[in-house]
């Protein structure tokens, strides 16, 4: 079985309003050195197969077709083999 950790990141060219709002929050906290805050999405799931290629293919398809919108987001997939539990 594989555990997939997905990081969905908004493209740099696209406004990240949550990041922008949080950055303003940092200023209000007096943390004046903080800049370029970006808020991404972290998604986890398991893939019940022992075939790493299949695991990668399914995770990629899931990201391409649903978890990320390729017009505004990029994604990274980290696969980790885990024992059946």
């Amino acid at each position: 079985m594989y555990k997939a950790k997905i990081l969905v990141k908004r493209r740099k060219s696209i406004l990240d309003p949550q990041g922008k709002a949080s950055e303003q929050g940092a200023k209000l906290l007096g943390l004046n050195n903080i800049s370029k805050v970006r808020i991404d999405k972290s998604i986890q799931f398991f893939i019940e197969t022992s075939d790493e290629v299949l695991a990668k293919t399914e995770a990629t398809e899931f990201c391409n077709k649903l978890l990320a919108n390729p017009i505004m987001e990029d994604f990274e997939i980290i696969l980790e083999k885990v024992n059946e539990s």
């Binding site: 696209i14 406004l15 309003p17 922008k20 709002a21 649903l66 978890l67 919108n69 017009i71 505004m72």
Partner: protein, 231 residues
């Protein structure tokens, strides 16, 4: 020919009844609700994807709705040339489905915006605008994620093919940042696909059909659609 409107109901749709009321009771066309789990568009000639928060806008607005069984039928219908109107959340569903280019981002102000806006009609020859007798429409918006974005190449295509139908303007048709309520690129408020059978728009024409509300600017959009069948 009697034109029938099918209005899709997703969990979280909240403008479905307004759309139904306007096309059926104000404009007098045939209309039926279509449940998102059904597998048939029930001989509808026009599909309306209404506003709201389908599936709670989970993941991204419109992202889950595109996978519902009925949407597969709507996609087939649209790809075969069937007329589809996506309003607000419906527009978001159309971009997520890949039926229209681009994406709707969070409003630049980061705020939900609910107000009447002016729209300049950019393409008055589409299936959705052929009966418009005004160059500027007054139609309300109500959204938090209506900031239309597309890359340069897509914008070029949209312009080249006359796919931009409405732009946010002021009351005399000036296009500027003051008249842009959400930060949409080039003030874009509504677009059609290249073939011209699918319209996505953030403003709500179904909310301005009833004369007792003092504004009927939305009616000509639905009338245009019916007119396009009669041509």
């Amino acid at each position: 020919m009697k034109v029938k409107f099918g209005i899709v109901v997703f969990p979280g749709s909240n403008c479905d009844h307004d759309a139904y009321f306007s096309v059926k009771h104000i404009l007098g066309y045939e209309a039926e609700f279509l449940w998102h789990k059904d597998h048939s568009i029930k001989n509808s000639d026009v599909i309306i994807l209404p506003g709201g928060f389908s599936y709670g806008d989970y993941l991204r607005s419109g992202a889950i709705a595109k996978l519902s069984p009925l949407m597969q039928e709507v996609i087939n219908f649209a790809e075969g040339g069937g007329i589809v109107i996506g309003i607000c959340n419906g527009f978001q569903i159309l971009t997520e489905s890949g039926l229209l280019p681009g994406v709707l981002l969070k409003n630049e102000s980061l705020k939900f915006v609910c107000k009447d806006v002016y729209l300049k009609v950019i393409n008055a020859n589409s299936a959705f605008t052929n009966l418009l007798n005004k160059e500027i429409l007054n139609i309300p918006i109500a959204h938090g994620e209506g900031n239309y974005f597309a890359d340069e190449k897509t914008l070029e295509e949209l312009n080249k093919n006359n796919q931009i139908v409405f732009k946010y303007s002021d009351n005399v048709g000036n296009l500027n940042s003051e008249s842009n309520p959400n930060g949409s690129v080039d003030n874009i408020a509504g677009i059609i696909n290249k073939r011209g059978n699918i319209l996505g728009m953030m403003p709500h024409p179904e909310r301005v059909c009833n004369p007792i509300l003092g504004n009927t600017d939305g009616t000509s959009i639905f009338r245009s659609v019916v007119n396009s069948f009669l041509k």
